[in-house]
Symmetry: C2
Subunit: 385 residues, 2 copies
């Protein structure tokens, strides 16, 4: 990493590096905390965990010095990264970049501890795990950087998971909106918050490998002039969800709320929601939750179903959700029918459908997932790009 940073600077770039804790360090610190307090106090946990990144800033600066590359390290508080006071999940409110600008002007590489800040009373806060990406994007926005490069363990964003489709192709470019849909659907390359932040402040984001050279994938604002943009960019999927159905509910106003309210109160997150009215005026409501929450959700539904006079509660965790994502589908009719036809040709039965402007998702039987992903990758000619 030091080699790469030193080279970047030698090529004439001003470089600010945001670092995470070393591998295993955060877990080591959490284990120490739990020895001292069963439920560690948020404020103190932040004081503890923020040391992980601080250690890395010092070590990287030393490694740069040993390569004759001038460098200076800062904690979040020193920068200063001002956050709200929500310990362990704070949000950045403002970044004072004056000191960093001065250091860059003096020819220094500036190494900043990610994942942390201070609130207005100078208490140490952390942004929650993975928050280093957010720090990097926020700093890039504040400094009006040309590009914010996120180094990960993959070399870019792919049209779909290469473990499922051999011909999956690394995308040169993807829009923020597409990236958000891809990320939230299981292609977990980047923290969603970092992508949202980058989109909001129009910071060009590049995903690169920490281990290999290569251009990675650039995440940008939609290029309106690019008429040759492909209709769809990628296929995302997840096996993490389970499906629940309440069937035969007398269709009266407020049914959806009466069913989903108790689920939400139990802090269970709901993803897809579909409701259909049958001819006899009864209705079925189906939704998906994380697989780990299925049993709990089903228990809650039993009570609700009885009070609503519903006929049945069904649950199924042998499902998968699969989505095609692309800003191109906005202006191209027939994307949905092409998707459904490709699935039909392979006898993949669709259990649920939901759509957004740049995404179509279907829930199918888990056993058909790989088949369906390959069929769609072919149908939309993603291998060719």
């Amino acid at each position: 990493m030091a080699d790469r940073v030193a080279r970047w600077r030698a090529e004439g770039n001003d470089v600010v590096v945001v670092v995470s804790a070393m591998s295993g360090e955060t877990n080591r610190l959490i284990a120490l905390a739990e020895q001292c307090q069963a439920q560690p106090t948020g404020r103190e946990l932040d004081v503890l965990l923020s040391t992980g990144e601080q250690v890395t800033t010092a070590l990287l600066s030393m490694a740069l010095h040993s390569r004759d590359c001038p460098a200076v390290s800062y904690t979040g508080g020193q920068v200063r990264v001002l956050t709200d006071s929500a310990h362990t999940k704070a949000r950045i409110k403002n970044i004072d970049h004056e000191r960093i600008q001065t250091d860059l002007g003096r020819g220094n590489v500036v190494v900043v501890a990610g994942f942390q800040g201070v609130d207005e009373h100078n208490n140490i806060t952390t942004l929650g795990r993975g928050g280093s990406d957010t720090t990097a994007v926020a700093l890039a926005a504040a400094l009006k950087a040309q590009e914010c490069q996120i180094y990960t363990d993959v070399d870019g964003v792919y049209t779909t998971d290469p473990r499922v489709v051999k011909g999956a192709r690394r995308l040169t470019k993807i829009t923020f909106e597409e990236m958000l849909e891809m990320a939230s659907l299981g292609s977990k390359v980047l923290q969603i918050r970092a992508v949202e932040f980058a989109g909001k402040y129009s910071v060009p984001l590049r995903v690169l490998s920490s281990f290999d050279e290569g251009p990675g994938t650039l995440i940008t604002l939609e290029d309106q002039s690019d008429v040759e943009a492909p209709v769809i960019s990628g296929i995302a999927f997840t096996r993490d969800e389970a499906k629940l159905t309440v069937a035969g509910i007398p269709d009266t106003p407020g049914v959806a709320y009466r069913i989903l309210g108790p689920i939400s109160e139990a802090n269970i997150e709901v993803d897809v929601i579909v409701q259909n009215v049958a001819e006899d005026n009864s209705t079925d409501l189906t939704f998906t939750v994380h697989r780990n929450d299925m049993a709990r959700a089903a228990e809650i539904l039993q009570n609700t179903a009885e009070s609503l006079g519903a006929t049945e509660v069904r649950s199924d965790d042998k499902i998968a959700k699969l989505s095609i994502v692309g800003v191109g589908m906005r202006s191209h009719a027939g994307v949905a029918s092409k998707m459904f036809s490709a699935l039909a040709q392979h006898n993949v039965n669709i259990q649920l459908i939901t759509t957004s402007e740049i995404k179509i998702s279907v829930v199918i039987d888990e056993k058909f997932l790989e088949l369906a992903v390959r069929a769609l990758h072919d149908a939309f000619e993603l291998e060719q790009g």
Copy 2:
């Protein structure tokens, strides 16, 4: 430690705790640094090492919370402990104790990271190893604390090393001056700087064991009214020194400077210095240095001796230095003769003698050290107190 702090507070005390890094942590961090840079940059080393104490503050606060004892942790920079910019060996310039006072007023135990501060540009500094004692004393002075308790691995200050004299007795009380003489002579209970600081600001200091209960030893200003004070308080000794002699030097002005100047320029610290003029007007100059420096010092002396026309350079590392310390000797004649007579009775030959107001030191053959310490412990009846 948390049990003890919680109990102190439950008894109605306002408690500020200054913590060190956990055992082994500083060495672990230094090893990491040396992997990144052969001679780690001071500024970055401070950023790195200061995390050690920060971790402990968070963990102790959590442990207090789990005992229903309200507590809040601060780094040196948060307090704020203002130091000069001498990285890795900074000195405290000022302590802003307003925030701590506010927290104490709210009923909190305040846990402060020792060993660290920030300079006027908010760069993290450290006070050098063992500096946590100094932080504690400086804070106690700033807060006008009733007492500053230093928890160590011994339960107090003894009349001499209990491993050498079975009857060595823990002192209830000792003056700062005596403590300074004892500490610098090898009874390494406390950092000298912390004792100096405590003396300068009249902070009562108590040395206690981290592991056992007990009143420890109180270090205070000299109690002038205490006419019953013992003549001597303790016997300190060290085997860390070596003796060098330049013999047969023609006695001309400036000889001592011409001999010791080059030693000091080589950053070798000199302890005892004794010079005698013989009848033939030649002179011998003898001094002691740390044993590790003897070879280097002898080499330097060879050059000097030749240019001075001295007859010989001798060196000896089989020596020990032994001192009796006590403010009582100021007003009691005959302490020196009692010491010398006790040594003579046991046939211990004295090689060098130096004296200060509250201390008499002798250099003797190393092999007589234990015998001499026991003889003096008896002669001055230290066992009885």
